[in-house]
Symmetry: C2
Subunit: 216 residues, 2 copies
Amino acid sequence: MPDAVPAAPRWRRRKTARPAEIAAAALEVFAERGFAAARLEDVAARAGVSKAALYLYFATKTDLFRAVVAQAVSPRLDQARLLAAVEDQPLDRIVPTLLSLIAAVAQGSHIGGVAKMVIGESRNFPDLAQIWHDQVVSQALGVLTAVVERAQARGEARSGDARLYAFSLVGPMVTGILWREVFVPVGGAPLDLADLAQQHARAVLHGLVTPSRAAA
Amino acid sequence: MPDAVPAAPRWRRRKTARPAEIAAAALEVFAERGFAAARLEDVAARAGVSKAALYLYFATKTDLFRAVVAQAVSPRLDQARLLAAVEDQPLDRIVPTLLSLIAAVAQGSHIGGVAKMVIGESRNFPDLAQIWHDQVVSQALGVLTAVVERAQARGEARSGDARLYAFSLVGPMVTGILWREVFVPVGGAPLDLADLAQQHARAVLHGLVTPSRAAA
DNA sequence: GCTATTACTGACCCATCGGTCATCAAGGTC
DNA sequence: GACCTTGATGACCGATGGGTCAGTAATAGC
């Protein structure tokens, strides 16, 4: 035999890369199984690392969970602020834009999975539900409420509770996102969020009832 | 001392009453903690029975879970059929009725909790998500889709994908129910489902944009 | 009352999984 | 190339909680 082949080392030291990799793996596992049912062994395996290595970067399973949610939240925050910036356009121009953006964000991220997980574990981790509420849901709802109020002030939108109207606007998107997350994997009919955004925007803005018959 | 007081027996034999009581207790615990984090000991305690007694009526924790969901589902099924019966009224009469009914049902039952639990455990118990889909969500969505299609056939509703319109109709209610379940306990602003039903009905039917400006 | 039946319990077993630790080896430094 | 720091590991511990079972006491039948 020739000189021993310099076999690939059994592992490498990658202090900076690890945390993000672990958090990403954890996101997947938590989103699939929920917090309680997720096994750290699985997270470790998916991150290509031993279970003990997790504890070099995260003190407890709960801390890891928090980190994962926080990581999933912060990029969305920026997006929410971006939304807020667009505000001063007529209602029937801004609403389709906002809803389409929600659709796009939902498709290009793991928000659905995180939402599912936060919903499922909300009683066990109230502080997490709170973070999610304060930093994501409440923000988004606030932006929409403000948009509606502004439109009302301009006499452009029907009077009524602006916050409830915000529910009218996002509700179908939220439901659609959860639908895809929960029911499509078990045989539910697929759902195109972009189509939903488009059509729902038209519906809430101008009404489902055909104009000829409308009589508020 | 006089004759021994005939102390209340330490427990009673109540073969027929137990299963329902256990299922009710389990509903509460599962809805609070989710499946994995729920302890059978807690279920037993809340049912006023020992843990071992659970196994006289349910073979495994999973079976108990199934029973709970099934029990929560079947009454709703009837309600769904009832909905379907009302169908042939003008859209702007039937929609407020349906949405208000959803609000009432949500307030008078544990549907919210069950939904939360099914969402959270959907990957761990796909068959449960399926049951819930087939027997509740899909039914309800079907009723709404049919209502919309009928209205479209009468030229009463705007054209478009009837199923997506069904999302436009229920989405805000679903979101509201989850809001109450998840965020209100951690400081989210309270939400009146009846108000939401009322106002949302007006919004989707006749449009958020003030009639004078409307121009589909 | 006496007995047979069985609903119910308390104490136990043991698999799973979060968390720890002694040890190893990658790789920077001189 | 020798040494040291430290990222990483595998084998382990202990608690938790699902599930079991021999025994106990409520009650139906006579």
